[in-house]
């Protein structure tokens, strides 16, 4: 029986290898996502075009503007006059305008000595992108009020990701998403394809327990996912510079547990869906959307409404992404995220159990 199991694995591998387009997509998606999220799409605020309105260009103002212009986050557009502000913002030529009061220097001294008065600097921002505007306003304040904030009581330190690189945050998210895509979606589609093509009928009328054939189906997908996993980790470390300080082995073993979980999820979908389209839709609606929205990949879970916070606890990706983030960026060893591992393990056992039970060796 051992060697016929191998021939099942071989048959599945042939299916996958002959479908070269799908293979290519599976390998390309992670690379494209990594590059996209790593470089192109970022939640960081970069290259904000700032114009300055300053009736008197005193030394202090020049100094402030130089600081601003030298900062990576900003590019200095130039000085403009008061009546140009609205036009420049509206046309998108600038994203932010800093207005200095005419007697800026004197007023700054007052502020420095704690005398309250009317504002000395006005910031006008294009808030059509709320995130950019918010972040830009924060940066601008910290640069322009530098001398003042030195005297204030606050000091902020960014731990683990001091440059606040968004790629660090996205890598675990992408991993959480990709493995569901490759394992769950592709296995479920491939099992359901047998139903749709009618080959399942022939497989069922044989002495082999169909479950064995399905297990054989999972092995090549598991292998592909492992390759994708290595690819992602390689790109993350060498291309994006993600530290992986929690230990690569820990990340690998946790990821493999997550792979098995995704495979079981795909198996469960395949027991419900009768057509490939249905399997794809279930995978997309039931797996993709919640992962994107509720796993903490894009939006912090703490920011979700209470109801969705509860729902998110049911989503395996949430626990996986959280644990990988801790291991990759915070440098926590796998032992520290044991509760996440335990939850994922429990979910795997449950999913496998349910799909074993639901698996039907009849046609109805």
């Amino acid at each position: 029986m051992q060697n016929n199991f191998l021939s099942f694995v071989k048959k599945e591998s042939l299916h996958i290898l002959r479908d070269s387009r799908t293979m290519l997509i599976v390998m390309l998606i992670p690379v494209v996502l990594m590059v996209l999220f790593g470089f192109a799409i970022s939640t960081e605020v970069n290259n904000i075009k700032v114009a300055v309105v300053a009736p008197n260009r005193t030394d202090a103002i020049r100094k402030a503007v130089t600081q601003l212009a030298q900062n990576d986050y900003f590019s200095f557009y130039g000085y403009i006059s008061n009546d140009q502000v609205d036009k420049k913002l509206r046309s998108g030529e600038v994203n932010a305008v800093v207005l200095f009061v005419p007697d800026y220097e004197r007023r700054m001294v007052d502020v420095g000595s704690g005398v309250s008065g009317s504002p000395v600097i006005q910031l006008i921002l294009d808030a059509s992108n709320v995130n950019t505007a918010g972040a830009a306003s924060g940066y601008l304040q910290s640069i322009l009020w530098g001398p003042v904030s030195q005297q204030t009581l606050f000091e902020t330190r960014m731990l683990f990701n001091p440059q606040m690189k968004s790629a660090f945050n996205f890598v675990p998210g992408i991993m959480g998403l990709i493995f569901i895509l490759v394992c769950a979606m592709m296995t479920s589609v491939s099992i359901v394809r047998e139903k749709e093509m009618g080959t399942m009928e022939v497989l069922l009328v044989s002495p082999v327990r169909p479950f064995k054939i399905i297990m054989a189906k999972m092995i090549p997908y598991f292998a592909i996912s492992c390759i994708v996993l290595l690819l992602i980790l390689f790109l993350a470390h060498y291309l994006l510079g993600v530290p992986m300080s929690g230990g690569v082995w820990g990340i690998l073993s946790l990821s493999m547990l997550y792979l098995v979980l995704s495979l079981s999820l795909g198996l469960l979908v395949s027991t419900i869906a009768q057509t490939q389209v249905a399997a794809l839709l279930i995978s997309a609606m039931v797996m993709m959307m919640p992962i994107l929205m509720l796993s903490g990949m894009l939006f912090p879970i703490e920011n979700l409404p209470k109801f969705f916070q509860v729902v998110s606890t049911l989503i395996p990706a949430r626990w996986y992404i959280d644990a990988v983030r801790k291991m990759m960026i915070q440098g926590v060893p796998i032992a520290e995220v044991w509760s996440n591992c335990a939850i994922l393990f429990g979910m795997t056992v449950l999913l496998l159990g349910v799909s074993f039970k639901k698996f039907n060796d009849k046609l109805e």
């Binding site: 048959k11 002959r18 022939v202 069922l204 009328v205 002495p207």
Partner: protein, 299 residues
């Protein structure tokens, strides 16, 4: 010994009664044909006998095993070829055969002499993807795969549907060869002309068996006179013939119309009545299975 015994089996899908109290037996070593149009319940019966479905009522035994209780035993000893092409189109001919051999825990070499007469015809194309084969070759490959584990009983659901006439005839020759080797074969077909190749046939329609006999016996049951009628205007002939008294039925049959004679029918009188039709010709013919089928369906 009976290879297949079916007792009063019924199966419904929602409001559709696919099978209604069907009973018959197939003897060991027999080539048994299930003849009926689409929707007669043939596929449902095959799926019940191959343990893919559970009957609502009734029991059946295949190779001595109960289709519900001993379904695993049945799955090991029968060969099943479903109606639609159910091999892997992206695997080659050889890979398909190897896979199905492995599925049953045998090797192609062990069963080669059984499948050889069939497989040899497609062996020149063994590196071709199964999806790229012609209809007839696909069926040969599917039959090879269904035979690879030397089953005692073979279930073939409409193996010749969508296959050209030459390949169909070849396919039936192969089935006769297999029967010679002692394999029991239950085969279904919508083509009445194939029925004569079977040892016994069951005519079925709308979930019921209308008659079971040898092809010859079925034809012998036909107890009324049958005529073939022709005229230049065949459509007008059909219309007019149905109006003549004593004509039970008249239906197109190949190049002529078949006319079922009822009480008080006289062919001379008929020719006189329809004398106004050019080229009218009437002659008695021997009934075929299709005529029997049409008659049974009318009942």
């Amino acid at each position: 010994m009976e290879a297949i015994e079916i007792y009063d089996i019924s199966k419904s899908f929602g409001p559709v009664h696919a099978l209604e109290s069907v009973s018959f037996t197939v003897r060991a070593g027999e080539l048994f044909g299930l003849i009926g149009p689409d929707g007669a319940g043939k596929t449902t019966l095959f799926r019940l006998l191959t343990t893919l479905l559970i009957p609502d009522r009734g029991t059946a035994r295949v190779g001595g095993y109960d289709i519900v209780a001993d379904y695993r035993a049945i799955r090991s000893c029968v060969g099943y070829m479903p109606g639609r092409f159910s091999l892997y189109p992206d695997l080659t001919v050889e890979e398909n055969l190897n896979f199905f051999a492995a599925l049953f825990g045998v090797t192609v070499a062990q069963s080669y002499n059984l499948v050889a007469p069939i497989y040899r015809q497609i062996e020149p194309f063994k590196n071709r993807r199964a999806g790229k084969l012609s209809g007839g070759m696909k069926q040969k490959l599917a039959l090879s795969c269904a035979l690879i584990h030397r089953p005692q009983i073979l279930f073939l659901d409409e193996p010749t549907t969508g296959v050209d006439a030459v390949s169909r005839s070849e396919f039936w020759n192969m089935l006769s060869d297999l029967r010679q080797r002692g394999i029991t074969i239950l085969v279904s077909t919508p083509y009445m002309d194939e029925a004569s190749r079977c040892d016994r046939i069951a005519l079925c329609n709308e979930g019921r068996i209308m008659g079971i006999d040898t092809p010859r016996g079925i034809v012998h049951q036909y107890d009324t006179e049958l005529y073939a009628v022709r005229a230049h205007n065949m459509y007008a002939l059909l219309e007019e013939a149905r109006k003549v008294e004593g004509v039970d039925a008249c239906y197109p049959f190949g190049e002529a119309h078949h006319l079922v004679a009822g009480l008080g029918f006289d062919s001379g009188h008929f020719a006189e009545r329809l004398g106004f039709l050019d080229g009218l010709h009437i002659e008695p013919v021997a009934p075929t299975i299709e005529d029997v089928f049409i008659k049974l369906m009318k009942r």
